[in-house]
């Protein structure tokens, strides 16, 4: 049987879709309030820094970012194809690179806290 990386990228897509389905809507509500100039108390530097400094907070932040990025990247690759862009190799390279860069940046920022 030919080797395929499909189970890996599809698994990340499924996990990403599930994680973002559970948490993204509520997160958007929180930052929407900040966009409207009514940032809630929990968005203060002290509160967010305290949350993201704890190992459990770090784990949650990294999990949400990592899975959401990889799920979106894989879906975006399929979206390009569906809109008629057939340069799949190039599209896949770019979207997965952005997801990888975002994941590495997230890990580095969390380690600085």
């Amino acid at each position: 049987m030919a080797k395929s990386n499909k189970p890996i990228v599809w698994g990340l897509f499924a996990a990403g879709g599930t994680v973002s389905a559970f948490v993204i809507p509520a997160l958007v509500v929180v930052t929407l309030l900040a966009a409207l100039g009514h940032a809630p108390a929990g968005l203060s530097y002290q509160a967010v820094h305290g949350f993201a400094s704890h190992w459990l907070g770090k784990l949650m932040v990294f999990g949400v970012m990592f899975f959401s990025l990889w799920g979106s990247a894989h879906r975006l690759r399929i979206t390009f194809y569906d809109f008629g862009v057939r340069a799949d190799g190039l599209v896949a390279t770019v979207v997965y690179l952005v997801a990888a860069a975002g994941s590495v940046a997230t890990a580095m920022y969390l380690m600085q806290l």
Binding site: F22, V23, P25, A35
Partner: protein, 134 residues
């Protein structure tokens, strides 16, 4: 190979860029696909915010200030609508993607989807509570 098998193979024409206008079902499929553009962009925005947080209080507060504005509000509203659409459509297909069998019987679709909706409500309430929204 195709020519050997049939002299006049039937080739159904599919317009590459406009096929999804042919049926409302295809349009809904594409709407689901488009949610990833906003969710992905929003996640990158969060990565940027995390970078500001790591850079210190001044950088973080200027990031929060930078979130204000009409364009940002429009982006947030669009992302919220599409994120909710993603969540609803995702949970509605979960029973098909992850059928659960107990003994001879399959757990009804409504129970699996319902459990996910309940989890969504709990997690959303926890996030809003932690953020001090209420």
């Amino acid at each position: 190979m195709g020519e050997e098998m049939s002299r006049k193979p039937y080739v159904r024409e599919v317009p590459k860029h406009t096929w999804f206008f042919r049926h409302p079902r295809y349009m809904r499929y594409m709407a689901r696909e488009i949610t990833c553009i906003f969710i992905g962009a929003y996640t990158l925005l969060l990565v940027k915010g995390l970078g500001a947080l790591a850079a210190g209080q001044a950088a973080y507060e200027s990031f929060l200030q930078g979130l204000q504005g009409t364009g940002s509000v429009a982006f947030h509203v669009a992302t919220l609508v599409l994120a909710i659409y993603h969540t609803v459509t995702w949970f509605n297909v979960t029973p098909k993607a992850l059928p659960v069998q107990i003994g001879e019987e399959f757990v009804p679709n409504g129970v699996i989807a319902g459990a996910h909706y309940a989890g969504w409500a709990v997690i959303s309430a926890a996030v809003l509570l932690a953020a001090g929204v209420f």
